[in-house]
């Protein structure tokens, strides 16, 4: 999420879902992976819902949030950090997730695999392509 208020909503929704479904958690994955999976699903659902409500695409929702980012009191990034955020938003949804989890949060591929249900090999390929696209974006903007 980019917008602070949206992030706050998604975070609360995530913890509510965790609270409601904790009994059904069977320990088949790590608790961290289970909670993170709920969080990613809630984020995607939130963006899709906002897009549908405003009759725009998911990408347009994120672009609108990006336009306000510089003025956001909870964003203290410099020009390069802002540009990187813009580059990430140009990626497909799932590729954005993979990139953020690997680059910003330094999760291992095995952990990302458990969260997203994607093979490690596919994740490595996705991240490699994401890096290439971001570099091209920054070099051209």
């Amino acid at each position: 999420m980019i917008d602070h208020d949206d992030t706050d909503d998604v975070l609360q929704n995530t913890f509510i879902k965790v609270f409601q479904n904790l009994k059904s958690f069977k320990g088949e994955s790590k608790l961290f992976s289970w909670v993170y999976r709920i969080a990613t699903n809630e984020a995607i659902t939130f963006v899709s819902s906002k897009a549908k409500k405003n009759n725009i695409s998911n990408e347009e929702v994120q672009q609108k949030a990006l336009q306000n980012l510089q003025a956001d009191e909870y964003f203290e990034g410099d020009a390069m950090e802002l540009k990187l955020q813009q580059a990430i938003t140009s990626l497909p949804d799932k590729q954005q997730l993979v990139f953020k989890m690997k680059y910003y949060e330094d999760l291992k591929y095995e952990e990302i695999s458990e969260i997203l249900g994607t093979s490690v090999g596919a994740l490595k390929a996705s991240y490699h392509h994401a890096v290439k696209k971001i570099e091209d974006f920054i070099n051209s903007h």
Partner: protein, 135 residues
């Protein structure tokens, strides 16, 4: 500028920060937004033993089965009109006089209409029985 390489430099930060004391109030805000659920009250002790409830259920079931059986028996015991006619004709020890005593005028009229007796049958009957004609 075509020399930007993501992996050749220290990781760029996201630039986002959490508001001060954000996580301290998060738990309270989440609890406030939890949907209201009815709490199921389960007593700590059982008010009556299980065997009492089981015995009562068995008793009700038995009674309903017995009543049902009697009801079914009653229904099957009722004979149809044909069976009644056959009984009176071949098995019942009832004289014509007794039969007549139990028939009223309406029954006789109905019989006259519904039962088609030929003249020959009447003459045969009159010839064979000790019939006294009352005038």
């Amino acid at each position: 500028m075509n020399d930007f390489k993501l992996d050749s430099r220290p990781n760029i930060k996201s630039g986002f920060k959490a508001p001060d004391a954000y996580f301290e109030s998060l738990a309270d805000r989440v609890m406030l937004n939890l949907p209201m659920q009815e709490v199921k009250v389960i007593p700590l002790y059982k008010r009556r033993p299980v065997w009492v409830t089981s015995a009562a259920a068995a008793l009700v079931l038995s009674l309903s089965l017995i009543l049902n059986k009697n009801e079914a028996a009653k229904k099957t015991a009722l004979p149809d009109n044909k069976a009644i006619e056959n009984y009176f004709a071949y098995q019942a020890d009832i004289s014509s006089y007794e039969l007549l005593q139990n028939l009223d005028v309406e029954d006789v009229s109905e019989l006259q209409e519904s039962v088609n007796i030929s003249d020959e049958a009447i003459e045969e009957y009159l010839a064979g029985e000790n019939v006294y004609l009352y005038e």
